[in-house]
């Protein structure tokens, strides 16, 4: 049901045209529902993925531009934040005092180490030899139980994520191994397909055995463009997604995660991370600085060495050990940078095959979870973002809710309200530009899917009916669906 007070028409640019407004008005009762068909049949010219903030960019830099409408006086801060996002941190003590404090344990030397060109990580390529350790892919660890805030309980020796690198004089926690099992299936037309399911192992464990009941969850670094707009989606919209899905009474029943947020020191609705296990960009950024690079911040001032890791505890600290390794101003600049990265415009939205794929996407009810559009509200943290992100009609294709995705994708590791089979609906925008920016098309939380169709075929659980519709499609229809997804 379209809310009468929806700001949508008012914030649309005139170029969307009166025709669209008329259609939206007539079909208004269906526009915000999650029936998919009705919603996307009135999709206006949505080439401008991020409204006024959209950049018309392709190629290697496609994820790296600031919001197109970012005021010039904020662009200096953007580039300064960028420099700290991509620059390598170094081991303390060093002459580069602005960026010392790497480790003791880490998996990457910079944010850009995993989010290369603000883009997406991929699983390690084992054809390069067994010594290759993952960088854009990390493994979260926990044992049964919950911490004080209801979050995962870390492994007592290895902590809450596995670190396969360490500074000189400190042992890395060990090495990760990865192999794939082949999963075979068939489309209704008889065409066979093969998927690959990852199996992880640990070797060279330097701090003794891991917990017997250890749970692990692999997580790929997603592309960054548009995260500030996602943060500006009103919480009420996400809650409404859950309410409306429940009201339909079908299999699709999304759940909003509730997670501990360190910056605001409270429980908040989770919207970032593969399990919506993080509420804010600031928390995500502070967590990544600490967990992935070993950089302490005002938010997380304590290194994540466990009490069993004596060498880690004894290692020199950055900033002469007197202050967090990244200071508050620099940290805030990095968050500002992330939150002002622009989504890129769609390519070829009028292409006949793309239009056909869009219809098939709707018919298969994909939009039940991959909700296409929102109008952003006020940015929640004015010091960490730009007003340019406000009041924009954006097209991220997500409900930001948790869904049971079936046994095939399950990690069996709860994360706040997310159970071991639930994953957050990932935004689909930018999907087609990952090959441009990162030279690969590995999708899903662990990068197992080689392209959009494989990602679709892994859908199960609440998404079973949608996946079955795709299985029924002809080869030509499947190609059109992929073409649509790659136009996003």
């Amino acid at each position: 049901m379209l809310r009468g007070a929806s700001p949508q028409p008012a914030t649309r640019r005139l170029r969307a045209g009166l025709a669209w407004l008329a259609v939206a008005g007539l079909a208004g009762l269906a526009f915000w529902t999650h029936a998919g068909v009705a919603q996307d049949s009135v999709t206006p010219d949505d080439e401008r993925t991020g409204g006024d903030s959209t950049v018309f960019a392709t190629g290697q830099n496609a994820f790296s531009f600031p919001l197109a409408n970012l005021p010039d006086e904020e662009r200096t801060r953007f580039v300064i934040g960028n420099s700290f996002f991509k620059r390598n941190w170094v081991q303390a003590p060093s002459s580069t005092t602005a960026r010392d404090g790497l480790g003791p344990h880490f998996i990457a030397r910079s944010c850009g180490g995993c989010h290369v060109q603000d883009g997406r990580g991929a699983p390690p390529d084992f054809t390069r030899g067994l010594s290759e350790q993952p960088v854009g892919l990390l493994l979260r660890l926990s044992i049964p139980g919950k911490d004080a805030h209801g979050g995962p309980l870390p492994d007592p020796v290895y902590g809450d994520q596995f670190s396969n690198f360490a500074v000189q004089g400190v042992m890395p926690e060990g090495q990760i191994s990865l192999r794939y099992e082949t999963v075979r299936g068939k489309f209704a037309d008889g065409t066979p397909y093969q998927l690959q399911k990852p199996r992880y192992g640990f070797s060279k464990l330097n701090y003794g055995p891991m917990a017997k009941d250890l749970m692990l969850s692999p997580r790929i670094a997603p592309q960054m463009a548009g995260v500030g707009l996602l943060e500006a989606i009103p919480e009420a919209e996400i809650v409404r997604n859950a309410r409306e899905q429940a009201a339909l009474g079908g299999a699709v029943r999304g759940v909003a995660n509730q997670v501990w947020d360190a910056p605001t020191q409270q429980m908040r609705l989770g919207r970032f991370g593969w399990k919506a296990n993080v509420a804010t960009l600031a928390h995500q950024t502070g967590g990544a600085f600490l967990g992935d690079m070993g950089i302490t911040s005002p938010l997380f001032p304590k290194e994540s060495c466990t009490s069993a890791q004596k060498d880690c505890l004894a290692a020199p600290r950055g900033a002469q050990g007197k202050a967090p390794e990244i200071d508050e101003k620099t940290f805030n600049d990095v968050v500002f940078y992330e939150s002002t990265l622009a989504p890129a415009a769609r390519r070829n939205p009028k292409d006949a095959q793309v239009v056909q794929g869009q219809k098939l996407f709707a018919q298969a009810q994909c939009a039940a979870c991959h909700r296409s559009s929102y109008v952003t509200g006020e940015i929640p943290f004015p010091r960490l973002g730009s007003k340019a992100a406000q009041g924009q009609t954006i097209w991220p294709y997500t409900d930001l809710l948790l869904h049971d995705m079936g046994e095939g994708l399950a990690d069996g590791r709860p994360d706040f309200l997310a159970n071991g089979r639930q994953w957050r609906t990932p935004p689909l925008w930018g999907l087609g530009l990952v090959p441009d920016v990162n030279g690969h098309n590995r999708l899903l939380h662990d990068g197992r899917a080689r392209g959009a169709l494989e990602a679709v075929l892994w859908h199960d659980g609440e998404a079973r009916a949608s996946k079955d519709k795709v299985l029924q499609m002809t080869a030509q229809e499947r190609a059109a669906l992929v073409k649509f997804l790659e136009s996003l």
Binding site: G59, Q60, F65, A68, I80, N88, A98, Q117, V135
Partner: protein
């Protein structure tokens, strides 16, 4: 390639050259309107393609000269040989810097398979490639089990981090100059780093320098091929692109003006006052990088390019295309771009001293002046693109 100036093109060129001298806006407008009648989007795209090719050809020629210098130097390392290689590097950079105006729209330089990251990535973590102060065994060169081949270095470039630079201009620069530990001059690597028995792994250092230079030459050659006037090249597609190609030209100019040059290369350095944030930090050549970038933008806007052999290429330009719609705006943009080039030329070497000091330090003011002009120019370019009917950019109208 010899530039052939047809009479009409020559007339246009003369009008363009004369324009800055015309103080009266009306006079400038008249000159531009006369020229503009002949200018169409396809003509602008065609001439741009010619200009791009010429720029890459000159760069490739410079890189080949560098390669010769590297070959003689590594065959018999000497101080003179090292100096000759450094000079060849500096000469070639003058041309490469101008080609950066052809970036940012997913063309051959930075499309999905584009070599930009292999050619000119920075800033570079030197210890990824070779020893640095306090880390004598660091880097690929000192890791003997890592093979040094074009393929291997290309695959190591930007692996696991944007600063893990193994290839391109700046890797070569680091090998030729070494770390810049001096406050008054550039890096001061000794030629003996390349002499067996004088420095560990000198053989691998020689090999690395040769291989990485060859890779640069290969990549630059691939760019000249992409812009060659053949039926299947990128250029053929670009020339058919009409207004879409013009849009790409604007995206390139605007993105280089604001985000890259004013932002990443100048504002970041001003903010950090850190030598590591200067573009060519080993050779102290950053002041020239800035000028070359600013000139590259001017080249495309005016449709003019001064070749290595001293000849000038001229033809249908964005400036004329915009002037046909809004002569005053075109003129203002021309003046602003010229002001940016002039401001950039005012930045003094070494850049790492220029950025240091209090807010009102003369060097910082010179850098800031360049930034301010580039920012204004980016706004003018957005307006100019809008005037030409183009709105799909990476910036919206300010």
């Amino acid at each position: 390639m010899t530039p052939v100036l047809k009479p009409v093109v020559l007339a246009t060129l003369l009008a363009v050259l004369a324009a800055p001298a015309m103080a009266q806006p009306a006079a400038a407008a008249n000159g531009s309107v006369a020229a503009a009648q002949a200018v169409t989007a396809p003509a602008v795209a065609r001439h741009y393609a010619q200009l791009v090719l010429a720029s890459y050809e000159d760069t490739l020629a410079g890189a080949l000269t560098l390669q010769k210098a590297v070959q003689s130097f590594t065959a018999a390392p000497s101080d003179e040989g090292l100096k000759a290689a450094r000079k060849a590097w500096l000469d070639a950079r003058e041309f490469y810097g101008q080609t950066e105006a052809f970036r940012f729209y997913g063309g051959p330089i930075d499309d999905k398979n584009g070599p930009e990251g292999r050619i000119n990535a920075w800033p570079m973590d030197e210890s990824y490639v070779d020893y640095v102060k306090d880390a004598p065994n660091a880097g690929i060169i000192n890791t003997r089990k890592t093979a040094i081949s074009k393929k291997q270095l290309a695959s190591l470039n930007e692996r696991n981090g944007e600063e893990n630079i193994a290839t391109g201009w700046h890797a070569i620069e680091f090998l030729l100059w070494g770390q810049d530990l001096s406050t008054t001059g550039p890096g001061n690597r000794s030629f003996e780093d390349f002499v067996d028995g004088k420095k560990p792994n000198a053989d691998r250092r020689r090999q690395y320098l040769q291989v990485v230079t060859e890779l640069l030459v290969d990549d630059l050659r691939s760019l000249t091929k992409a812009w060659a006037p053949t039926a299947t090249s990128y250029r053929a597609k670009f020339e058919r692109g009409g207004m879409e190609s013009v849009r790409k030209m604007f995206v390139g100019l605007g993105s280089l003006s604001r985000g890259e040059l004013a932002g990443e290369r100048l504002e970041v350095a001003l903010a950090s006052q850190d030598q590591e944030d200067e573009h060519s930090c080993f050779s102290d050549n950053t002041h020239r990088d800035v000028v070359a970038n600013a000139k590259g933008i001017q080249n495309v806007w005016l449709g003019q390019y001064k070749r290595a052999d001293g000849s000038t290429l001229g033809g249908a330009s964005l400036r004329e295309l915009v002037a046909a719609k809004n002569p005053a705006l075109a003129e203002r943009t021309t003046q602003q771009i010229a002001a940016s080039v002039a401001a950039a030329e005012g930045i003094q070497a070494p850049f790492d001293r220029e950025i240091v000091g209090a807010k009102d330090a003369p060097g910082r003011l010179r850098v800031q002046k360049t930034i301010d002009s580039l920012v204004q120019q980016s706004k003018d370019l957005v307006e100019a693109a809008n005037a030409a009917g183009i709105t799909k950019l990476t910036l919206v109208k300010p």
